[in-house]
Amino acid sequence: MSNLTKNIIRFIVFVILQALIFNQLEIGFGIHLMVHPLFIMLLPFEMGVISLMGLAFLMGIIIDIFSNTYGLHASSLVMMAYFRPIVFKFYGPREGYDPLKEPSVFDMGNRWFTLVFGYLLLIHHFWYFLVEIFQFNQFLFILQKTVFSIIPSFFICLLLQSFLIKKSKTK
């Protein structure tokens, strides 16, 4: 399967997962599960940031249409796509990333994935709840929602990877 078809299928799978399953789950305690950032995370290393942001915007808008949030998911996903190369550069190996590998937990290791995806998820969730609530006297509530949502989202993303992707065939 070529890289393009693989990513198109992933795009559809993640939109369906987020819009029809995770957006419908109501757990309480202000937990809001969001797994679609994983799609932006798993795009190839060599992809340019402008096409990243374009894809993020498209995906965000589609999820917004399904959940009546009118651009909220799009805004936070574009935010995350903008920061992705910056965080990648910061934690990257000195000789640069191997283009045959994928930025998944299997190819890059637990430590790298936890740090990079953790930061990106933090940016995404924080921006999402900041724009959604948008009241500065509720700042503690924003932080509480961010922290409570990140932890289960992160672990579900870890689980999803073992269902959806395989280790790349590199020596």
Partner: protein, 289 residues
């Protein structure tokens, strides 16, 4: 030559900051859509009222609606009993000298359109419900929506077969309610924390409110009939520095499992609007005096 240098600088600038410019452009677009649609949706295409989205959500609902089936049947049965008890055949006649009167005193003001919730959320800051009825069934913007247990919201956006309801779990829902039995008026608000509790604004703290007194709609603006249940007063606290109570209510409807709702159609809304439109707007000079 100056012009040429300027152009070259501009292109260099755009090249250098093109990533940030694209980023800013996309952010501005998405936030603009967000702010605009929160207050007044200009089209149905970016909401769940659009045909494709609603169709997909209907498929999903066809699967998930059976999860609460027995509970919903039970609720409908209870409502039926409540209504049946009002029928004259179900009452024991105390007076034997009953006279039948042709009734010309009452005229129908409200009719109801039944509908089903196909998509909902309760955990966001602003929660919307999608119903499977639309303009073909006579739903219009700003109609009230309620269920057998309590008030649900106001219609926000309509397409041909679907509509989106702005629920009471949104920031600026502002339904006018009264606290029974002594008719204290206030405005319903939601702070975004708990889907089971809301609050009432604008109640002066010299009024005495009993705990667990019923809260119902006031029916002043013609969106809801009078007396649709909203909830019960759970706690009353003074707000510091203001002469108002902070009244927390517990909703009588559990919005997390809501399925069957009714849309209120007020047959006299045009008349009321036309009459209220005759009131001259407040002039600035009057306000300053």
């Amino acid at each position: 030559m100056i012009n040429f240098a300027f152009m070259r600088n501009l292109i260099a600038f755009l090249r250098r900051f093109r990533i940030f410019l694209v980023f800013a452009f996309l952010q501005v677009i998405s936030l603009l859509i967000y702010v605009q649609f929160l207050s007044f949706p200009r089209s149905q295409y970016l909401t769940t009222a659009s045909n494709v989205t609603a169709k997909v959500l209907t498929w999903e609902n066809d699967v998930t609606k059976h999860f609460d089936l027995s509970k919903n049947n039970w609720a409908l049965q209870r409502e039926n009993i409540r209504l049946r008890q009002r029928l004259p055949e179900f009452m024991y006649t105390l007076s034997t000298t009953k006279v039948k009167v042709e009734d010309t005193v009452f005229e129908q003001q409200y009719t109801y359109i039944p509908g089903e919730v196909i998509n909902s959320s309760v955990t966001r800051r602003n929660n919307y419900f999608t119903l499977n009825i639309g303009s073909k069934q006579g739903v219009k913007r700003d109609m009230g929506v309620f269920s057998d247990k309590g008030v649900v919201g106001i219609v926000h956006n309509v397409s041909e077969h679907y509509c989106v309801v702005k629920s009471v779990l949104t920031e600026d829902i502002n339904i006018d309610v009264i606290i029974e039995p002594i008719h204290i008026e206030g405005i319903l608000k939601w702070d975004g924390h708990d889907a089971r509790r809301g609050s009432i604004d604008g109640i002066s703290n010299d009024l005495r409110i009993k705990k667990w007194s019923r809260v119902v709609t006031r029916g002043g603006s013609g969106i809801f009939p009078k007396g649709i249940p909203v909830g019960k007063v759970e706690s009353i606290k003074p707000i510091e520095g203001e002469s108002l109570w902070d009244v927390v209510i517990r909703y009588s409807e559990d919005y997390r499992t809501l399925q069957r709702v009714y849309v209120v159609k007020n047959l006299m809304i045009e008349e009321q609007k036309a009459l209220e439109g005759l009131i001259p707007p407040d002039k600035e000079e009057d306000l300053l005096q």
